[in-house]
Every structure is written in C-alpha cells, then in structure tokens.
C-alpha cells in the first residue's frame, strides 16, 4: 500500500527568527538562577562535606556534620535564635491582627490610605530604622537622656540593658516587621464575605461568637502566612543582632558570618551551619507552602 500522500504544509507567512518561544523566554532567567543561585548553594553543600575543594587527600567526609550535630554548641544557639524569632513573630502577628481587622472590616473609607500609612515604614531603609533605635536606646541615648532631663530618673541610674541585649534585638526586629505582617492578614480579612457574618448574627450569634466561629477560622491562612513571612527571614537574621544585640543578642546568623569573616575562618563548619539553616527553611517552606502562595502577597 502506498504511503499516504504527504499533506503539503499550509503555506505559512514567513516568520522572523526572533520568536518568543517558551525555552527562549525561560532560558535567561533559569541560566542566571542556575549559575548564581543553585551552583553557589551546591558549592556550599560540597564544602560542608569536603573541606577545601582544592585537590587534596581528603575524601568526602561527614566529620564536620558529625561535630556540628554532637557538640551541641551550635544547635543550642540555633534553638535560642529560633525561640527569639518565634516570640517576635507571634507577638507582632497578635498585634497586627486587630489593626488589619480594623482596616478590613470597620468600613472606614480611607482603608487603603491607612494601609499605606502602616506599610510605608517597611519600604524605607532597614539599616536606618535600626540606626534610629540605636540612637534611642543607648545608655546616653534619646530615651535615657529624656528621662534624666525631665527628672524622671537620675543620671547615675540609667535604664541599662536597653541596648545590646536580647530585648533590643527582639524590639527592633518587631519594629521592622510589624508593618509587613499586617498585609497578608488584611488581604485574608478583606476577602471575607460580610454576608457570612450577617448570617451568623441573624442566627443569633454574638459578635464574639461570629468572630470565633467565622472570621478567625477564615482568616487563619493569612495569619499563618504573616507568621511565616516574619519567622523565616528572622531565623537567619544577623544584621540587627550585630548592631543592637551585643553578646546576649548574638544569633545563629552571626555565628555563620563569624565563621566566614573573622581572623580564624572555618569555612567547613560555616558551610554546615548554613546548609542546616537552609534545610530548616526549605522544610518550613515546603510544609507550609499552601500558606505561602505568592497571590497572597501580590495583591496589595
């Protein structure tokens, strides 16, 4: 049997070569991320298993990981940092919730103006906001000198421990992230159908009951997202603690920096610490991925 006559291709207009097909669209972004994001992470991973990548007699080794997991020093520091981040995140989520509730549900006409007022500080310089607190909290800073000047406290007896403490780190981190956590909560409350609340009220629920049984459960995804948006970045924080933390505010991130930058660098241990942190963040991101949908952030 004859092979079926080949159907002549429909006469196409000639298309120019420059065609935005999917591979050519994704090529550049993926190559960039591959070269400057994935490969660097792979190198750190390799460092954590094989000290000094230069040709050496050392085979792959688990020694650095073994030391990290057994010495306890670094894990205790990690736990301390995690507790600080958890506390800060929990406090500011609880504080931001009523603010977002007010904006989304009070029926105020200027809710977007007020939202912008709340969020604007987040969009200004991070370091300068830390600077402001350093100026305020110092032993002879704005707060203490105000207290001396107004006679509320004697100059011999300043409130010390304001700066260079765990408290200072948590206060500044809370200050920095507070405007931002209101956003995802606001988005989830804003999309709440008010008719649900009306239905609850019609059925005899008090406002408190309606809040507990309707509003709160429906806004929980936004609350979770807000919590994670703060918890994940503050877990590896090192800038704020190095500026206002002193010894007691020292965090896990500072340890990583010090292992890479001080006079006695230990890149292998530093790499282990970094990969451990990355793994924790990756697990958190995957486990809670349904709360981290970009849609929640993108709608502002």
């Amino acid at each position: 049997m004859d092979p079926p006559a080949e159907v002549p291709p429909p006469s196409h207009r000639r298309r120019p070569r420059l065609d935005l097909a999917t591979p050519s669209l994704l090529g550049l972004p993926l190559v960039w991320l591959g070269a400057f994001f994935l490969v660097p992470i792979a190198i750190v991973t390799a460092y954590s298993f094989a000290p000094a990548l230069a040709p050496s007699p050392h085979p792959l080794t688990l020694q650095t990981w073994h030391d990290f997991l057994h010495s306890g020093v670094y894990l205790r520091l990690f736990w301390k940092s995690a507790q600080m981040s958890l506390t800060v995140s929990a406090i500011i989520v609880v504080l931001a919730y009523p603010l977002a509730y007010y904006l989304a549900l009070s029926g105020t006409k200027r809710k977007y103006v007020l939202l912008l007022l709340l969020i604007a500080p987040f969009l200004t310089s991070y370091l300068l906001r830390v600077l402001a607190w350093k100026v305020i909290l110092g032993n002879n800073g704005v707060l203490n000198s105000f207290l001396f000047w107004s006679g509320l406290r004697s100059p011999d007896n300043p409130i010390s421990q304001l700066l260079y403490s765990r408290f200072a780190v948590m206060l500044v981190l809370g200050y920095i992230w507070l405007p931002f956590v209101a956003l995802p909560i606001f988005v989830s409350l804003e999309s709440l159908d008010r008719r649900l609340l009306e239905a609850a009220t019609d059925l005899g629920a008090s406002r408190l009951q309606a809040f507990r049984r309707v509003t709160l459960p429906l806004s929980l995804p936004g609350v979770m997202a807000a919590f994670l948006f703060v918890f994940i970045p503050t877990l590896g924080e090192f800038v704020t603690p190095s500026l206002v933390g002193g010894a007691s505010g020292y965090m896990y991130g500072n340890q990583i920096v010090d292992l890479f930058e001080t006079g006695f660098p230990d890149w292998e241990t530093g790499s282990v610490l970094a990969i451990f942190l990355l793994a924790v963040v990756a697990v958190l991101t995957v486990v809670f991925s349904r709360f981290l949908q970009p849609r929640q952030v993108a709608q502002d």
Binding site: P16, L18, D19, L20, T22, L25, L26, L28, F36, F37, L38, P40, I41, V44, Y47, L53, L99, Y102, L103, L105, S106, G107, L116, L117, L118, P121, T124, S125, Y126, L127, L131, A132, W133, K134, V135, N140, V142, N144, W149, S150, Y175, L197, A200, R207, A210, I232, L235, G236, V239, G253, V257, F260, A274, L277, L278, V281, T285, L292, V297, A298
Partner: protein
C-alpha cells in the same frame, strides 16, 4: 447593628491603630528632630537649631561616593532583574509547559533563602571560580534577589491584559516579538515601572548579601553599617538617614498614586 464591630470596639481599634502608627513613626521623627540639633551627641536636652550636619554630609566625599555606587548597582541590577522578570512572567502566564510548578518555585525561591546563606554561597562561588569582588559581583547577587519581586509584580498585570489583543496583532501579521513590543509591553508598562522601582529600592537598601561580595568600592548600606556600628560622626549619619527616609517615603507614596491612576486608566479602557 454592625456585624463586625461594636461602636466601642471600633473606638478601641482606632486608638490601637493610632498608637501603633505613633510607635512606627516616632523613631523617624526623633531622627528628624536630632538631625537639626546643634550637638554632636543625639541626646536631650535639645541645644539649638543647625544645618551643620546636612552641610557636612553634602561635603563628605566618601558618603557621596557610596550613594553613587549604590545608585549604579541598583540601576544595573534592577534593569537586569526587570528584563529577566518580563521573560519569566510571560512564560509563566502565557505559555503552557511541563514542570511549570517546579520552574515557578525555583524562580521565586530567592524570596525565602536566608540572605546570610545566599551571601556566603556567592562568596564561595566567586572564590572558587576566581572572580574578584567588585560592584559587578554585588549586581549579580542583587539581580537574583530582585528577580522574584519583579515576577510577582508583573504576573498579575499580565494576567489582566486580554490575550485576544495579542492574538489580534499576531493574526494581523505581527511577529511574536513585534506583538510584544507594540501591544503587550505598552500595556505592561505601569507594572514594569513598579517592578523597576521595587527592584531598585531592594538593591539600594540591601546590606546582607552585599556585605559578602562587595569589593573595595562600597555601597551605601555598607558605608552606613560601619557608620552605625562605630558612630564617630553620628549626627551626619542621622542627617543622611532623614534625607534617605524622606525620599523613599515620597517614592512609595508617588508610586502608589501612579499605580492608582494607571489602574483607573486601564479600567476605563476596558
């Protein structure tokens, strides 16, 4: 009766909101006040008005150099991030392909990586490959961290643009590139501008990653960090802080107003 808030409840929340706004802006106002204070130590009592600190910072060449370096780094890195972001956003919104989930996860993953980890990763990469640290290495890092932000800004806008406009141009004989240039891009422009602004401010303010890969020519945040850590000319730094914060607040408000206008225009075109 209001179903969400009693009158007392609304009053309490309004008061709480006002308190938080005071808490958020008080440190900025304090910086503003002390930037005009005639004393080298920022402390009470206030000792008189001066513009000395502003004059000094205008004459501080290190600081101006750092501002200039940051402007260059931010301009370059945000331009690159926006171009990559446009390409990626078109692929994610307009094309169907396998592995879309993993690809978009990868494109957005710089959002969640701890900057300290990313910073040392880049440091080890440049060390391994033998690239000396310079403003170029900072630009490379900043493109990576800005890219997801540009994608997140561009994608929703692209979704709003009616595909049939692009198809019409295509049917009328325009190439895909021509279609993009003459139809998609002009409609996307407001989002491109906000993506650029977001990437620019992200880069301009970025310390953590830059601290690992910066060369001898320092960016503004690197300069600021040492000035904040070892404050020997604190009032001058405070004056700079006031200028930078004021400018960025104006940019934020301006960008928001611009976005509103653009949005209204798009809606009236529909």
């Amino acid at each position: 009766m209001d179903v969400a808030l009693s009158r007392t409840g609304a009053w309490v929340l309004r008061a709480l909101f006002a308190l938080v706004v005071v808490f958020l802006y008080a440190p900025i106002v304090i910086l503003l006040v002390f930037s005009f204070n005639n004393s080298s130590v920022p402390a009470f009592p206030l000792s008189g008005f001066t513009l000395q600190w502003y004059r000094e910072f205008l004459g501080n060449t290190d600081l101006r150099g750092a501002l200039e370096t940051s402007a260059i780094v931010a301009a370059l890195s945000s331009a690159a991030a926006v171009v990559l972001g446009i390409l990626a956003a078109i692929a994610l919104v307009r094309r169907e392909f396998k592995a879309k989930g993993p690809v978009s996860a990868l494109l957005l993953s710089p959002l969640v990586i701890p900057y300290v980890v990313f910073g040392i990763s880049l440091l080890l990469l440049f060390h391994t490959v033998g690239i000396p640290r310079s403003i170029l290495t900072v630009v490379i890092g900043h493109v990576v961290i800005s890219l997801p932000y540009t994608i997140l800004v561009l994608m929703p806008r692209l979704q709003q643009i009616d595909v049939s406009l692009e198809e019409a141009a295509y049917d009328l004989g325009a190439s895909r590139f021509r279609t993009f240039r003459s139809v998609t891009f002009p409609l996307l422009l407001p989002a491109v501008v906000s993506a650029y602004l977001i990437a620019f401010t992200t880069s301009f303010d970025e310390y953590a990653v830059a601290s690992f890969v910066v060369g001898s020519r320092v960016t503004f945040p690197i300069y600021l960090y040492s000035a904040v850590r070892f404050p020997y000319n604190l009032p001058q730094v405070i004056a700079v802080a006031v200028v930078v914060i004021t400018v960025s607040l104006l940019v934020v408000v301006g960008a928001e107003i611009g976005r509103r206008i653009a949005e209204r225009r798009l809606q009236s075109e529909d």
